[in-house]
Symmetry: C2
């Protein structure tokens, strides 16, 4: 008898009919002799509806109250799911964030889980209940409702699985698993049967959109095996697990792309100590996260500094830099939205050389100019012109022998 944690996303519980389907899946897991804890998201679209309702009331609604409002979404799905399972003859019980004692800090709208008081869930499981926990929400030390940010239910699921030492954490979503590339733009993309936490972390942060990045960090830290799979069929998905020797034999596991960034360049900046911090600190202080940073020396005392920011923050960041450029005497500030970041990812890179040069050569052979480069131990990313995104992904996918037969 295993303890299985299952998380179902918003599409999987989008209406009462789908809730019934998911209940059937939960019931089969239970019937197979397992203890089951289920984490649910809000019905798809509901969170956006609530945000739009609040938007009618205030331009920047108070974050504490926003979390109170948003938490109703998961409260609705967990109660409906518990009712459904009960109507099918199962013992089931819903648990909200405060009831499951999902203790977080007080950073409303992006709280972090500090601890989970698993006692109540444990005793419900011991009594034979299927426990249905509201994802995405927690409670802070004063008893206020917090939420964990977009995709936070994944983190709820992993945290619950970690706290209860679950045998497996299944993440049910509307895709079959993790692919070697986005199947929408790369027809030869293949589903991966296994991937390491580190690779998944790189993929999540680069736009694979399947798992909240924090949930993967959590899973890695607490050694929770994740199974990412579809709630609409019975196929095995992708296991996200610790790295093993087999994985290292594959040089590159996947190619990802992101169109969510924009580039800012300050030209002819006087090159003096502390200049990079002078340029970047005000952006960070405005709450804008800077990703890649490149400094090119042009002349002996002049440099160009280029960095990327999330596309929605471009206008705000440009405004900040215009002022700074004037203060420090830079020649001009350029903004560019039409860029994409293409990455190749694989733990095999640790033991294989030549990945970067192969990537550059592949892009060059397609006449794709590389604007920026950044690397990690298991990832190489190139910023290119946005219009080449699809071509670049497909070329790299072939070059690194990821294409399906």
């Amino acid at each position: 008898m295993a303890l299985i944690v299952q998380k179902y996303g918003g599409t999987s519980v989008g209406d009462t009919e789908r809730i019934r389907n998911v209940a059937g899946r939960i019931a089969r897991t239970r019937d197979a002799g397992n203890d089951v804890i289920v984490i649910l998201s809000a019905m798809s679209g509901v969170t956006d509806e609530l945000i739009s309702m609040a938007g009618k009331i205030a331009n920047t609604p108070d974050k504490r109250e926003m979390d109170v409002l948003l938490a109703t979404g998961e409260q609705t799905t967990v109660s409906l799911m518990a009712m459904t399972l009960q109507a099918m003859g199962y013992k089931a019980r819903s648990m909200l964030g405060y009831q499951a004692e999902i203790l977080t800090d007080s950073r409303y709208s992006k709280a972090r889980i500090l601890d989970i008081g698993a006692e109540r869930i444990k005793s419900l499981i011991a009594e034979g209940h299927i426990v249905i926990v509201a994802g995405f929400q927690g409670v802070d030390a004063s008893g206020d409702i917090t939420t964990l940010g977009r995709g936070g239910s994944d983190t709820s699921a992993v945290a619950v699985a970690a706290a209860l030492k679950a045998d497996q954490c299944e993440i049910y979503t509307d895709v079959d698993g993790i692919y070697t590339a986005d199947p929408n733009i790369c027809g030869k993309a293949r589903k991966l049967s296994r991937i390491s936490y580190d690779e998944m972390l790189e993929m999540a942060s680069l736009g694979a959109k399947v798992l909240q990045i924090r949930s993967v960090e959590f899973a890695k830290k607490y050694d929770v095996p994740l199974h990412v799979r579809s709630s609409f069929n019975e196929e095995e998905g992708t296991m996200v697990v610790h790295e093993d020797a087999n994985m290292e034999k594959v040089v590159v596991s996947g190619v990802t792309h992101s169109k969510n960034e924009a580039r800012i360049t300050l030209r002819k900046v006087p090159d003096m100590p502390g200049i990079a911090s002078r340029i970047l600190e005000p952006v960070a202080k405005a709450g804008i996260s800077v990703d890649m940073i490149i400094q090119n020396t042009r002349l002996s005392n002049m440099t160009d500094l280029t960095f990327t920011v999330p596309k929605p923050d471009l206008a705000a960041a440009l405004e900040i830099e215009e002022k700074i450029a004037e203060e420090i005497g830079a020649a001009e500030v350029l903004g560019d939205e039409n860029i994409a970041k293409i990455s190749v990812i694989g733990v095999g890179m640790r033991s294989h050389s030549g990945v970067a040069s192969k990537m550059f050569a592949t892009l060059a052979s397609e006449n794709i100019n590389i604007l920026l480069i950044s690397t990690s131990e298991i990832r190489i990313s190139c910023v290119i012109e946005e219009k080449y995104t699809e071509l670049a992904v497909r070329a790299l996918h072939s070059a690194f022998e990821l294409d399906s037969a």
Copy 2:
């Protein structure tokens, strides 16, 4: 500086526009130098929508889970209201049932308030916040969400007012106050400026629909003055207060009617000790509440027994009585849905005689047959044929000199 509790019903917070209007009213009360605690219902229609959603899932949804589901309604309005007030520049904070420590028993869907831990509300008030409390919901000793039944937000408001020793509890609704009769059927009905708790209790239980009966019991017990008024205008409504000498000068304060009951008669029942309990106990055990009971002796050893039950329970009660009639050898069981209960109510009855005979004479003069009679210290009720309802109300309203000029 007074402490004012204001409760707004579902129609008053029916959409974001109305929420804004109500926020304006709350703000004016605050600007006048008062501390303000607000209790809100769910947006009108939302509770019914949630019930219908649960109905798609299970014929008899689990009551614990139903309360989790229904509690989302008030959670939505309190967060939206707090955001609205904050956007207007006021300090405001929402409190859910468990946060306001509205401790109840565990009778889901009809829980009773046991205690209110007012400390958190008190400290928020001391910090200058307007506190917005979710009505209708509480929390039991295990931390589970409970709800207080239809109209439960009234009781939430009175209980909070009692716990915090508020100077006044204002119940904002979609009617102007308490009327001498239902204005929809009695054009000459007048709004009462004052009414006693006891009269209000009789009115509430007889169909006046304005206040949950339990809220009035609470207000009487803890000496909370209630002000029932409209949220759509600025007029004074009706004060519900302790009886005073002036009230006793008026013999009858109001005439009420209810079409919500049905009558069951068992004919030719053998008259022996314990027979009434034999007939009525199984009905009570089925959870059906019996209101009026009349036993008429027909022959030396035969009796007719008549009682009333809520109309929706008639079929179930008849089924039970058919069996009993057979067992005890009664001649037949008759059911009648086409009845109405008409009542005249007034604390003045305590010191005035002749009210009953005047009521009977008035009905007789209109050729209205009285089917059943019951009385309390301050009320006389007659069951009549339903078709005479409006005529009876108007005739009694005139006879007891309640008509507006």
